[in-house]
């Protein structure tokens, strides 16, 4: 039986979390939802995920800091971590990739954007 790929969605906005969950489900993924960085780090310590969608702008700990801790403290160096952020100007894009993100998902997202990221960074589905 083929394993259902799993994504962790980290966003402080409830409507966004549920929307991403709904899109992911429609393209055959399952989603776990966290509303802040601490919860995300805890979830990543317990379960394994194929992809993390991480909102950059959150009130407590920002996405960049969480990404650094995923890489350095949890040692998940190969895990695709996607920065989920408002429209990036070209120079922001380069900076975020240098900070350890694997890719960018630009808000406002479309269905095709999410599917594209999942296809690019997710496990190869037979």
């Amino acid at each position: 039986m083929r394993r259902v790929p799993a994504a962790l969605v980290v966003d402080d906005n409830a409507i966004n979390r549920r929307l991403l969950e709904s899109i992911l489900r429609r393209i055959g993924w399952q989603a776990s939802l966290c509303e802040n960085g601490a919860a995300a780090l805890a979830a990543l310590g317990q379960c394994s995920f194929d992809l993390v969608l991480l909102d950059l702008r959150m009130p407590d700990v920002g996405g960049a800091e969480i990404c650094r801790r995923i890489r350095n403290e949890l040692n998940l160096t190969a895990l695709p971590v996607i920065a989920y952020t408002a429209h990036g100007m070209l120079e922001d894009r380069a900076r975020m990739l240098a900070e350890g993100f694997s890719g960018l998902l630009i808000k406002p997202v479309s269905f095709a954007d999410v599917r594209g990221i999942c296809e690019e960074f997710g496990p190869v589905l037979s």
């Binding site: 409507i15 929307l19 429609r26 808000k107 406002p108 095709a112």
Partner: protein, 416 residues
Amino acid sequence: MNAPVELTRVVSERRAWIVLWDEQVRSRLAGELAPQGWLEVRTFPNPSEALQALRASDEPPDLVVTGLYFEVSDGFDLMRELAELRPAPAVYLLSHQQRAVIRAAVSLARERGLRVAGYADFPVSAMSVAQSLAHYPLQRRAVDREMDSLPLERAELQAMVDARKIVAFMQPKVNLGSGEVVGFEALMRGLGPNDAIIAPDRLIAPLSANGLLADATVLVFEETVEFLGQCLQEGFPVSASVNAPLGLISDPSFCRLLIDRVERRGIDPSWITVEITETEAMSDLATVTERTARIRMMGFNLSIDDFGSAYSSFMQLSQLPFSELKIERSFVTSLHVDPVKQAIVSACATLGTRLGLHVVAEGVESPLELRAVRSLGCTEAQGFLVARPVPPQKARNWLRACEGIAQAACAELSPD
């Protein structure tokens, strides 16, 4: 009120004036027009005489067929005065001049707000001119004409704002790659007596002149935020655009009000794009940068509307925090048969995408235009071909029903 009766009235009211120096052509054309249902056909040898008659007459023409070159005065003078009439007549241009001059005259007429019923260069038969005019759409209904000539007054506008009769109509935007509906633009409409829809050209300038545009914009914004919240909660990842004059964005209390509405509904502001026109974006760089940066700081996206209608400098474009560029509709209309428009749209699309912006073609009304803007590199399209603006409830029903339709429209465009 009885629509067919009014229509009959209008038909019998159709008046055509012919202003041509060549007497033979003039009378031949008059002879051809009369049997085509034109009640009154008057002829003049030059613009000066036509203008004299115009000043003396309280029954202005619905159509003026005019040449461009005359011994005294010319067709351009005539058009300037015709444009002052309410309602302004349609013009049909007939000239010996080279095509480039006629085309310039056509765009000038449009610029001045005159409807252009057509144009032809000599030699052309009077019969073919008359025939092409026979099918020209009737003037607007008489009642509308009377209403249109009266600008809305402050008290009426204030009452509309108080009763929330300023509403948002939603027009969808599709992604040209995936065929997905990715967003809606909220367009302001007024609801007059009997909830007759009042178009923006009668609404926005008077609201602005009476200091009510901020209140009206907030009403549109609130309706948009509610619409957006419902769409997102239903699982549709769509964004929404709202037009706001730069003057309003510069008011911090207005911006706080916007962010308050968004937060109250629990929406991430990046689902909302604020559109400002290119003309406004190209005023003083320091002021514009401050105002637009503030909107971005709050998390809204920023779009430059009617791109191509003003004269952006590359400096301004590179400095301002835009996320989207919308190509002025006049470059999109019939671009599939116009190499000049194709060159302009292609350049805008290249510039925009290289700057990392969404590039939206506005006013797409035919499959050929859609195919063209897509192949020239635009990323999104908006226009009657996709859908007309409709009230939010209808837009949501449309969204539910249409997931397949937009995709089918784009599937048609698969490379052949």
